[in-house]
Symmetry: C2
Subunit: 206 residues, 2 copies
Amino acid sequence: MAKYHHGNLRNTLIQVATELLAEEGTHALSLRKMAQRAGVSHNAPYMHFADKEAVLAEIAEEGFRLLAIEIESAIATAENSTYERLIAASNAYIRFALDRPNHLQVMFRPYEVEKYPNLLLASQAALNCLFELVKSGQENNTLIAGNTHQMTKSIWAMVHGVAVISIAYQTNMLLPENTSIEDGVASVFVGFLLDGLATKKSVPEI
Amino acid sequence: MAKYHHGNLRNTLIQVATELLAEEGTHALSLRKMAQRAGVSHNAPYMHFADKEAVLAEIAEEGFRLLAIEIESAIATAENSTYERLIAASNAYIRFALDRPNHLQVMFRPYEVEKYPNLLLASQAALNCLFELVKSGQENNTLIAGNTHQMTKSIWAMVHGVAVISIAYQTNMLLPENTSIEDGVASVFVGFLLDGLATKKSVPEI
DNA sequence: GGCGTTATATTGGCACTGTCAACTTAACAC
DNA sequence: GTGTTAAGTTGACAGTGCCAATATAACGCC
């Protein structure tokens, strides 16, 4: 833990950047501002990051790790049924998105994926929480058979769509009034989807 | 059509801005660049727009109008069943998103909604295409009864989620290889959701 | 037609941004 | 203890959004 000039500027920077992101939004997040708040010169960040995009990628990566943790813990504390757990995971995702809209926005920027392999890995790790859930649902016959990956991604797309749109309109325009996000997710959105994925249907074709 | 100095700079600007957006991405879109390409001074845009955000809002609004048109025409040329039409509409949405990822990104920025009422209206108009479809599906008993708005928004969230995530990873990571977007949407994502919304199921509860 | 008013556009400037190049300083290897 | 190298600084540059002051063209009105 030897200190050179600053210490571990790299970590400090992404931490400070995350703070600034939450406070002022993506738009106002600048390298110079984060350098200033970290107490270093305006060019110090370039010792640790190739450019601004690289900083954002790192913030995004951290975001996915955080998201994974929240989803995991939501699953862990939910009741022991696939349905309950899927709803809990979905709720965790949407709560994350509404709590940290700016962070989510950074997580889904159009990065050049080949440049940030760790970012891709982190996002896949988060997705994997859902995957395991779907798999176990299929194993205990709660969910229909089928390509587990695609079913997982269906749920992800659905939940993510709800999150993004809710953020965009800065209000639960997706939900009827007096409905909490949690209730909305459970009863409406994911509910519909899960109906499509659930077993115990007679005539699925429309 | 009297020309003052330029003519109708306002329209020219959003047209030029849309071009630049498609060419260079959100990040590189600047007021000065669009002014230059429109052949006016760097401050001319301020005659017609309060600030950069206002320009983006207008571009976004135009985007929703375009999206609505594409969805409408997709519905019009699809076969005459609710299922086929919903799939067609979803495909149109996703095609739009993949053709104009930057435009879609601008459409879903975190605007201050109260500042841009027309933007909200345009987005609702686009959504309304889906709404009518769902409604007719309920009327001809193809879709389950229930809050039409919420069912519509479920589909929207789903499709939008697929679109956003596909853009973010710049590849159809959501779909198995050798699957076209169209097939993927039809057979996998929206398909699952529609199963949940379809009638003719015996035991919907999981 | 001439004139004032007003919308439209320009010039110049400011603070701020990302990034580059050149320089300085501190840590470590030997 | 000295040289090498990583870490951080200073200074600069072009580009950005936006503001203030100025110019110019169109229009209504007489």
